[in-house]
Symmetry: C2
Subunit: 125 residues, 2 copies
């Protein structure tokens, strides 16, 4: 098999404390990556699905963030409690978990409802 059926990238990045953008993990590790690895192994997906540690996926305001390729499905605010549902429904069943998907309007955009608004330009008298 030349490629993984699904390649799951789990952001483990930790931004500086108090960052306005938020942070996918507090400690650069988090509990999401090991939860995905354990669930995929338990489901017999070794060799078919790769669960991968990733650096910053640049969707910090929606974190913890996960992206699944090659289908480019983005998930946001994922918790360890969501992992089995993603593994069973998406990675095995082929149906993304819609309640956790990031809307297109929120992915790779400069502004969205979750991102801090840019400061208004000062009024020069």
């Amino acid at each position: 098999m030349p490629n993984f059926e699904h390649h799951v990238f789990v952001c483990t990045n930790s931004r500086e404390p108090g960052s306005a953008r938020g942070s996918c993990t507090l400690d650069g590790k988090g509990d999401l990556l090991p939860a995905f690895q354990a669930a995929a192994k338990e489901a017999g997906l070794k060799g078919k699905v790769r669960i991968n540690k990733a650096g910053c996926l640049d969707q910090c305001e929606h974190g913890p963030t996960v992206v699944v390729y090659p289908e480019a499905v983005w998930y946001g605010r994922v918790t360890a409690g969501d992992v089995n549902e993603i593994v069973q429904q998406h990675l095995i069943g082929g149906q993304p978990v819609e309640r956790l998907r990031l809307p297109d309007a929120c992915v790779n955009t400069a502004t969205c409802e979750h991102k801090p608004k840019p400061a208004a330009a000062p009024v020069v008298a």
Copy 2:
């Protein structure tokens, strides 16, 4: 734009010294990730292409390894000197750099010509 045109994952994993599988970096950082980031920025790809740090992509024998999604093009033995060619020809021009591509027979397989052969089973008299 909801998705990146290309999402480039650069393995920065460092295996234990002397590992038979090899290692994509010696220090967990390497020079490939910053080379890709600089070249993509210089080429004006910000917002279109994401250069991403990745943990082990599990193709260690062919490292340093890079995978580009959503097209799932795998590159092996990539050096910083190859980066501009990948950026210009693939990420901008849409044509993968064939001389650096990993053959399907080498990606996500238990054995290939670059991987250590499993030890033969001992002969029991």
